[in-house]
Symmetry: C2
Subunit: 82 residues, 2 copies
């Protein structure tokens, strides 16, 4: 099983990296850019898990225990077969 | 219009951040983890663009000119209405 986890900053949390990207895009002439937010994508390959529900539980626990900081980040994920 | 851009390392490119995350997950007891790859997600809000095709062209150009490093990274994106 594979999972794609998307971790983004919560609304209202300052994003200096996103601000820097926005300014760089504007400097290149992309003046349509109104906002940029930068997050992480984590692709995980899981071995020995057959059931989608078990994979989802495992990924959810990974996010809660390590991958996402619940104070400033939120996460979504999608589990795919092999 | 909004766009979500996903930037990942090309296959074969070393990913020390992914390796560190994999080891941290293993140390927490997640021994089903076979591989981890870390990439970036960039959410862009575009102003004054009405047509999906124009938004896609703009985002594609942003990726090529600034956001992705074509030597080691590849990108995908999805454009959504407001």
């Amino acid at each position: 099983m594979r999972a794609r986890i998307i971790i983004t900053l919560k609304k209202g949390v300052l994003d200096p990296q996103g601000k820097a990207v926005k300014e760089a895009l504007e400097n290149l002439g992309f003046d349509q850019v109104k906002g940029v937010r930068v997050g992480k994508v984590i692709d995980v390959t899981l071995d020995g898990i057959r059931e989608r529900e078990e994979a989802e539980r495992t990924v959810e626990e990974m996010c809660r225990r390590l991958l996402a900081n619940p104070v400033i980040e939120e996460f979504t994920y999608e589990v795919m077969g092999d």
